[in-house]
C-alpha cells in the first residue's frame, strides 16, 4: 500500500487512469441516459416517473459507497499514518455529500407526484439525511483547525464513528416498514425488478462510479499540489528570513 504513498508515483498513476475514466464516464452516461430516458419501458404503476429512479438510486448507492471510501481512508490514515489517506478522505467527502444531496433531491422530486409529498420522516430518508449531515460535519472539522494534519485526523475519527449509520441506512427499509420501498436490486434472492429496467440502472450506476473516479483523482491531485505549494511557500519564507538575517 505504501507504494502509493509517494505523491509523485500517485500522480503518475492518476494520469494513466484519468483518460480512461473520463472516457468511460462519457460513454456510460450517454448509453445509460439513452436507455433510461428512451429505451426502457415506463412502469405499470408509476408511468414515466420511474425514470427518476435511474438518477436517484445510483446517487444513493454512491452516497454510501463514498462514505465507505472516506471511512476506509480515515482508518488507513489513523492506523498506518498513510500520508495520502488523509487527503483521500478530504478529496472524497464533498463528492459523497453531493451524491447524497442528489439522492435526497431527486427522491423529493419523485416523491411529490408518487407519494403526494416531497418529504416524509421515514427511516430511510432520515438516515440518509443524517449521512448528509455527517459529511458536513467531517468537512467542517477539516476547516476548524489550523493544523491540517490534526484537523484531518480529528475528522477521520468522526468519519469512523459515523460508520454506524451505514447499516441503519441499508436496513432502515426493513426495520421501519414505511413509505420508502424495500431493496429490489441488492437482495439475497436476486433482483425483483425487470431486466429492461436493470440495464439502464446498472449502466447509470457504472457511469456514476466512473465519474467518481474522475473527480476523486482530480481532487487528490489538487490536494497534493496544494500541499506541495504550501511547503514551497514555507521554504521560500524561511529563505527570505535567513537572507534578511545575513543582510542585517
Amino acid at each position: 500500500m505504501h507504494r502509493f504513498a509517494n505523491p509523485a508515483q500517485f500522480n503518475r498513476l492518476a494520469d494513466v487512469v484519468l483518460p480512461w475514466a473520463i472516457g468511460l464516464t462519457v460513454l456510460l452516461s450517454v448509453a445509460g441516459l439513452y436507455y433510461a430516458l428512451f429505451s426502457s419501458p415506463p412502469d405499470y404503476q408509476q408511468g414515466e416517473s420511474v425514470r427518476v429512479m435511474y438518477v436517484h438510486v445510483p446517487a444513493a448507492w454512491m452516497g454510501m459507497f463514498v462514505y465507505m471510501v472516506m471511512a476506509a481512508a480515515s482508518f488507513t490514515a489513523l492506523v498506518w499514518r498513510h500520508p495520502l489517506a488523509l487527503l483521500a478522505g478530504k478529496a472524497a467527502a464533498p463528492i459523497g455529500a453531493i451524491f447524497t444531496a442528489l439522492a435526497l433531491i431527486t427522491g423529493m422530486l419523485w416523491g411529490k407526484p408518487m407519494w403526494g409529498t416531497y418529504w416524509v420522516w421515514d427511516g430511510r430518508l432520515t438516515s440518509v439525511l443524517v449521512q448528509f449531515f455527517l459529511y458536513l460535519g467531517y468537512m467542517a472539522l477539516w476547516q476548524a483547525m489550523e493544523d491540517e494534519e490534526k484537523a484531518g485526523r480529528a475528522a477521520s475519527i468522526l468519519a469512523l464513528v459515523g460508520v454506524v449509520n451505514i447499516p441503519i441506512i441499508k436496513f432502515s427499509v426493513d426495520w421501519w416498514s414505511t413509505l420508502h420501498q424495500p431493496a429490489s436490486v441488492m437482495r439475497l434472492d436476486g433482483p425483483t425488478i425487470d431486466g429492461a429496467m436493470l440495464v439502464p440502472l446498472f449502466l447509470m450506476a457504472a457511469a456514476y462510479q466512473a465519474y467518481f473516479v474522475v473527480v476523486f483523482l482530480w481532487r487528490m491531485k489538487l490536494e497534493i499540489n496544494n500541499r506541495k505549494l504550501s511547503v514551497m511557500r514555507q521554504a521560500s519564507l524561511q529563505n527570505t528570513e535567513t537572507q534578511m538575517e545575513v543582510a542585517g
Binding site: 489513523l78 458536513l136 472539522l141 476548524a144 483547525m145 490534526k150 475519527i157 468522526l158 464513528v161
Partner: protein, 230 residues
C-alpha cells in the same frame, strides 16, 4: 509501591468523578445552566404552538426529548476544554488511570451531574405539557436509559473540538446527527405509551443504542483527546 497502586486506581477515578461533579454544580459550572435551558426552552413551545391541551400532549414526548438533547450539547463544550486549556488534562492522562480512565470518569461525572438531572426533571415538564398519566413511567425510563448515550456521544464531539477555539457551534453540527437513533427510540417509547402500545421494544433498542455508544464513544473520545494532546 504495589499497595499504593491498588489504592490509587479506584480512588483517583472517584476523586476525579467527584471533582468534576462539584465543578459542574459550582458557580459557573454547566449543570444548572443546562437544566435552566431545559426548562426555558420547553416552556417556549406552548407560546409558539398555542395552549391547546391535546396538541401539547401530542408533542410533549418529542419536545422534551429534543430539548434534552440540546441541553446536553449546551453543557458539553467545557467537558474537556477547561482541563485542556490549563494543562491539567496532560497531568490526568499521565495518572495511573490513563486517558481511557479519565474519559470514563469525566463522562460518568457529566452524566451524573447534568444529563441524569434532566431525566429527573422531565416529569415536571410533562405536567406543563399535559403529558398523559401513563406516559410518565416510559418518559423517565427512556431518559434514564438514553441519557448515558447523550453523555457518551457528546463526549466524542467535545473531545474532537477540544482544541478548536469557539468549537461550541461546530459541536452541535457534529453531535446532533449522531443523537438521532437515541432520539428516535426514546421518543418511540413514550409515544408508544401515549398510544397505548407496548413501549418495551423501543426501550430495548434504546438500551442497545446506549451500549453501542458506550463502546464507540469512549474509544473515539480517547483517540480524539490523544490527538489533541500531541
Amino acid at each position: 509501591m504495589s499497595s499504593m497502586q491498588t489504592v490509587s486506581h479506584g480512588s483517583v477515578f472517584f476523586s476525579l468523578v467527584n471533582r468534576d461533579i462539584k465543578l459542574a454544580w459550582s458557580q459557573g459550572g454547566g449543570s444548572l445552566l443546562a437544566i435552566g435551558f431545559f426548562f426555558i426552552a420547553v416552556s417556549l413551545f406552548p407560546f409558539g404552538i398555542g395552549p391547546e391541551p391535546q396538541v401539547l400532549a401530542r408533542i410533549a414526548p418529542g419536545v422534551i426529548w429534543v430539548v434534552a438533547l440540546l441541553s446536553s450539547v449546551v453543557s458539553l463544550d467545557r467537558l474537556y476544554q477547561a482541563d485542556y486549556e490549563d494543562g491539567s488534562l496532560d497531568d490526568l492522562a499521565l495518572s495511573p488511570l490513563g486517558m481511557l480512565g479519565v474519559a470514563t470518569a469525566k463522562v460518568l461525572a457529566h452524566w451524573f451531574s447534568t444529563t441524569l438531572p434532566l431525566a429527573l426533571a422531565a416529569p415536571a415538564l410533562g405536567i406543563l405539557l399535559n403529558l398523559p398519566d401513563n406516559a410518565y413511567g416510559p418518559l423517565v425510563a427512556s431518559l434514564l436509559i438514553g441519557t448515558p448515550a447523550l453523555s457518551l456521544i457528546g463526549s466524542v464531539g467535545a473531545a474532537l473540538t477540544v482544541a478548536v477555539r469557539r468549537g461550541g457551534v461546530l459541536m452541535f453540527l457534529l453531535i446532533l446527527p449522531l443523537y438521532v437513533p437515541t432520539l428516535i427510540f426514546g421518543v418511540g417509547a413514550v409515544d408508544a405509551a401515549v398510544t397505548m402500545t407496548d413501549p418495551l421494544p423501543h426501550l430495548a433498542l434504546l438500551g442497545a443504542t446506549t451500549l453501542i455508544a458506550f463502546v464507540v464513544g469512549l474509544f473515539a473520545s480517547v483517540a480524539a483527546l490523544n490527538l489533541a494532546m500531541e
